[in-house]
Amino acid sequence: MIVTERNTDVVTIWATAEKQNRRYPIRFMVETARRLVDLRHYRDLLRNLVTRDLKVRYKNSIFGFAWSLLNPLFLMVVLSVVFTVAFERSTPVENFPAFLIVGLIAWNFTSSSLSRAVNSVIENKQLVNKVFFPREVIPASVVLANFVHFVLAIPVLVVILMVLGVMPTFKILLLPPLMLIHLELVLGLALFVSCVNVFFRDMGVAMDVLLQAWFFATPIIYHHWILPLWLQKPVMANPLAAIITAYRDILLLDRFPDRNFTLGALVSSTIIFAIGYAVYARYAPLFAEEV
């Protein structure tokens, strides 16, 4: 169903050919890339699903959008108190609350996207079972709705930082490209976990544990400097670690992010996205039978 033309478009499904394609990786990659480009016909659908998500989530709540900020703010206060009062000597960095809030808001986007995306296909089984449309818009709309929150949180974050005594500089202009790398990473992971969860429901259950492990493996509430040297490299190979460190460089320290870390994050996020999308495209035709 291609939207723009009428009567001229021919939709061909060739199941056997599609399966043969999978034996030729190059052809499969080309097909997948074309599929990605074809998604532009469904941008209205994507936009409507994102608005649905945003509208529905806060329809009957008083604080509405503020909730997405309350969680990181609350954690910031608790952790600041714990680290500055209880373990006074181990306070790792100057202006610890500011250090925390940047990482926590970035983490909040990651974790809320993934914990909601993992069940998204199953929750929309009524749609998957009854209507044809590219299945990738389901997890993508969840991630994009959370990304909208993330973007809206940035001005608030800047105000909080100013209250905490940090003045942002022109380097804040580096934030958008970094956020796009972050988005790419989260999209790739969301596609992968939501697809796996259709076939193995364990994924949905394991998600909480995995997210918790990732939270502590990422330098969010500590700085990677405090780690032993041999551990710093593997920890910073985590693209999210490089992204969050770069956010802090820009917002708190007024300096350019480490080029190698950032490039590494871009490359690994792209690889994760490509794998996530290819897996999703490969198994999406089976969703209607499995959910």
Partner: protein, 265 residues
Amino acid sequence: MTVIIELAEVSKRYRLSHERARSLQEVWLGLFKGRPTTRVEQFWALRDVSLKIQAGESVALIGPNGAGKSTALKIIARIIDPTQGMVRVKGRMSALIELGAGFHSDLTGRENVFLNGSILGFGQEEMQNRFDEIVAFAELEQFIDTELKRWSTGMVMRLGFAIATSVNPDILITDEILAVGDESFQHKCLNRIKAFRETGGTILFVSHDMISVRDLCNRSVWLDHGEIQMDGPTEEVVAGYLASDHGQPLPPVSLATETVETVQV
């Protein structure tokens, strides 16, 4: 005349779901046992079905429960992939398999029209142009800016039907859902489908109700055990079907009175 829907030797195999290893634990244990913990039982819902439908034809798929009618419909609507064979569909489809797919009860009728339209593959602008007509047909002018959770089930169904048929598709696929709303609205729906047929639209209709099949379709395809038993003019095929073991000696009295519709919003 052009072929608008073509199925070439289409087969569909299902793995029976209760036989399938569903959790990692089972897969994991299976690795140690050296053989699959569950024996996969296969079931062919369709076997070598070949079918050509010309533009402007209205075709009914009939057959007993489990004959593969809904599977065929879902394959044509691209919801599931065939295991073997090829399907070619020309033009835009609107599937009345589920009315109001993706309706959300916390959104207003207006918001749902655009959401549902985009799920069916129709853009914002297109829906904008048809909006008034949709609302007028569904007779819901008074409620369109109210949240769907305050609507009755019948109202929700009416809106779903109005959207699916207003988008001016080339092919209309319906799965036994003409029982929308009250008597007069059902009449209106049937008239709209007939008008769609008169203007050259192609209809694919799945039903157990032989009266509406005779009323609506000039050609019928009788499916049984996933294979085509008979394909031809409705009168002959329906007569053949009713004379067989599966056919009910007495067709249902009125149009789809037995169908119970559920809609989840």
